[in-house]
Amino acid sequence: MTDNGPDRDFHAEIDDAIDNLFSPQAAAPQPQSASPPSAKQESRAPAASTPTKDESLTASMLSSDGADAFSPFEEALLSLDWEISSSNIDNARSALKDIQGNFDVDKAVALTEIFSLMDRLLEAMAIAPQNVSTSAPKTLQEGLQTLRAAAGAENLSLIEQTLIDPTLSELRSSIPNIPKDYSKLFQTAASKTHGVAGREQKTAAGVKAAPAQAASPAPSGSEEEDLVLELPGASTPAKSVAALIDAVNSHLTILGKCIAKRIVPVENLFAKTPGYEKLHAIHTELRERLERQKQNLIKALGADYQADAAAPVDPPLGQTAQSGSCPWNTVTLGTWGGKTVGFLPDQIVYEDKPAARVRKCGSFLPIKMLKRGLFGKIGFVVQGELSFHDEATLKTLTIPVAKSSGMEESALKTGNPLLILFKENSGLAFWLDEETEQLDTTVGCRWETVSDPHTFVAGNLTAKGKTIPVITLRGV
């Protein structure tokens, strides 16, 4: 850094300016008296900013710079990638609906399953994120790519094998508690109940598929055909519309009571209890969802809605025997210790033939023994009420095994199915003799309530000339 010729002036100027700046302080430094500055000492930094145009800033910006109909959904997914929160999920779901609305009718119909599975996955993330596979956000991204490609494709059959089918199978495997074979669900839907998740699946898909049927009389994809033909309503043509309306009305009444008397008090209790924030959130989520569901049904019923429809009454405890019609429309029948007994489909959280080691556990069954494979999750094998608990809770859960006088433990055969009931934090396991079947109790059945609160038997059902005790966890 040696000065040479003409630069000297400039350097002198620099030196002068800096000398000027420092000289007053250098001549009289007062460091001792000055208190050392801290970060709090405020002297504004020379602002290197330039004034900003005072524009009115709006959050609505979608029509500008190249954003398309998919952008809001993509943005919502990117937010979800960071944090799974209810508002992020709500945004994603509404953005997904908008995309569906923007599609050509034909394509929208053909893509119904993708839309509904994506929505299901988002819904599952909202209710029980711990049960959703960790790759869910990525799967949704792939779903978005497929939808983008579908929007651009002239003919969907071109991308069916390369994009649509792989996306569908990824989506199916990401959603917890849903049978892999989606269409089969509808064939069995009318007769068999799959616990909470399974039933909702029915409703969601039924609602989605119904307008599809109206919009296009002959959808091209074979899977979609199944969807439409196997709608619960379509498969039970014998039931009259009036009977269905009555059923829905009474269902609404029960739903209202359940929300008011069961969910809300528990939700309030959780809200007050420190450490139960997560359970509180799950309950709130559940209540809101049920309320939405209720509103949807009321809307669908329109003029047929009866606010105070007669609801089947829960069998009251400690009363004398009552006879009449069965309080449940469907009862699951199984043979236990040589006798036919009934269970409530709602309370069944597990029904399968578990691994041999489970049979050796004696009179108490740790739920974690039910998981499959080294990396399996308990959440994947249980359904209904248990599927709302997180994995950590499930790991610690042990359920007593019911003993029957007619069956010794040693008599357990390898083929015995295991059935577990669970309700409001109490559970009971049964080794059945054979697999269960469903019984429609609305015709030809007689019901007698058992008043003894010390038994699991809520009442006796007389059907096909047999008396079947119905076991519930209500009386525990």
Binding site: R44, A45, P46, A47, A48, S49, T50, P51, T52, K53, D54, E55, L57, T58, A59, M61, S64, D65, G66, S71, E74, E75, A76, L77, L78, S79, L80, D81, W82, E83, N88, N91
Partner: protein
């Protein structure tokens, strides 16, 4: 590491690009800085109230630190750098090797929107600065 010489033209272009994208989307402030903590551009409604010099120095150091952390765990760099607060959030995005775009936004703007916009903007800004 080269020195930056900013002409009025470059700065104007960069500012227009940032205002047209992020500021339009409703973010409070967008600050374009270099890896040494120098401020290249400062836009947005809260720009003047901000101690931008400190923010730029800390942000540059923060990104440097996180990128070292990334290397410690065998990553080239982290793709998402974001801090969430009660009312304000801050997002850091790398623009090429030399520049950093800091976005400060409230609850009214979603992280996803910011991420989308920053990705788009990144290409535009690179073109402006690298010609």
């Amino acid at each position: 590491m080269q020195d930056f010489i900013l002409t009025a033209e470059i700065l104007e272009k960069a500012r227009n690009a940032i205002e047209g994208s992020l500021i339009q989307a409703g973010v409070r402030t967008a600050l374009l800085i270099d890896g040494a903590g120098n401020i290249l551009s400062n836009c947005g409604r809260d720009a003047d109230d901000l101690d931008a010099i400190s923010l730029a120095a800390l942000a540059a150091a923060n990104l440097g630190a996180t990128s070292q952390i990334a290397k410690l765990i065998g990553e080239e760099d982290f793709s998402l750098l974001f801090h969430k607060g009660k009312n304000g959030n801050i997002h850091f995005g790398r623009i090429g090797d030399e520049l950093i775009l800091i976005t400060i936004f409230g609850e009214d703007v979603s992280l996803g929107l910011v991420r989308c916009r920053v990705t788009d903007l990144s290409e535009t800004l690179l073109q402006i600065f690298e010609g």
